[in-house]
Symmetry: C2
């Protein structure tokens, strides 16, 4: 029994490591997507778009392994909950990869022009930095189950929400001179960063709940 338990624990650890690896991939994607849109780098945008398929494959692989563990080990109680939570975290990460991909697609669509006018370069830079900071902390939360860090992710998300409001505020200023199409791009970009951070928060909340049995 001790041996079976230990194999099972190794399997759980390996799933956790795969989720941490996925988190790193997703963080790099959003970092690159932000660079691509700020510097009109279509080659980097293409790379982000191509990487999304690899992220999807890694998530599918991780999912299949989780289901296989449930089938073979027939875990109950907290072990089963941890595995179901891992499935959900994989979905969140896959969706974060999609959102980085969406940012990269706007960069590619507008190339060689920039989708981001000068007045918004700082806001998008800050949203990109916040996204990467949130994702990197989320990776630590998955790896260490650090509940303090999980609460920090929530606070970082408040900052993302502030940046999002700041972005919309600039778009609706009467002095806005970049027209509707650019405003549409920026509205969607703002939404993508905001949703990206929401998924990171969702992952941190799941870990918080697994560890404490309470909602953050």
């Amino acid at each position: 029994m001790a041996l079976i338990r230990s194999v099972f624990q190794d399997e759980l650890d390996s799933i956790s490591q795969s989720l941490v690896d996925l988190t790193s991939m997703v963080s790099k994607s959003m970092s690159d997507a932000t660079s691509a849109i700020l510097s009109c780098d279509v080659k980097l945008a293409e790379e982000v778009i191509a990487t999304d398929e690899r992220i999807d494959e890694c998530q599918h692989d991780c999912d299949a392994r989780i289901i296989d563990i449930i089938a073979r080990q027939q875990p109950v109680a907290s072990d089963l909950r941890a595995l179901v939570t891992a499935l959900r975290m994989g979905s969140d990460l896959e969706r974060m990869g999609d959102l980085a991909h969406h940012v990269a697609k706007i960069a590619r669509l507008r190339h060689p022009d920039s989708a981001v006018p000068l007045e918004l370069v700082q806001t998008i830079t800050d949203m990109g930095s916040a996204a990467v900071r949130i994702t990197d902390k989320t990776g630590v939360v998955i790896a260490t189950r650090d509940t303090e860090m999980a609460l920090e992710v929530e606070r970082d998300d408040d900052e993302m929400d502030n940046l999002h409001r700041q972005l919309i505020g600039i778009l609706i200023e009467p002095t806005w001179k970049y027209g509707i199409e650019t405003a549409i791009d920026l509205t969607l970009l703002g939404r993508y960063y905001e949703r990206y951070a929401d998924h990171a928060v969702s992952i941190s909340r799941r870990v918080y709940f697994l560890v404490t049995g309470k909602y953050a």
Copy 2:
């Protein structure tokens, strides 16, 4: 063994019925949210916003029952896959409820004004109808596992994508006279309907895969 198997089948059927019920709730929410935004009906918008909590509760309840079935029955192979798929369909439906809620929140935010100018009333009406049609078919797909109907949901989603393109086309016409704020609202509304339909497609694809073992 025959008896256990039959209890298990009853439990699976009951989960399936809960997902069908959730689908009806979500369909009514999006239908009401569309009416609320088209007729500036803030009371109806408030109802949709309140209903979202009930949808979340139903989904949590359904999730807990699925995890309990996995723990007690320890299913393997196709039974386990069906239950994991049910968890994912619940997440999709919960998210569809959120998106109806987002539409209702724009209606409430702009009340007593309308968020939708005259030129776009028909497009939003059509997006609302497409959303409800897609959801109702998705309910049938969950209940009957009809793979033909699952493919129909994909085709209906193409129609939603066309409506979405039509909406963006109207926003970027040089004759657009409703300003940036209205364009932002409509960009987000378009995105909400499109994502809503994407989740319905995702559910239909999951059922298609469960039945055929192939991707649609």
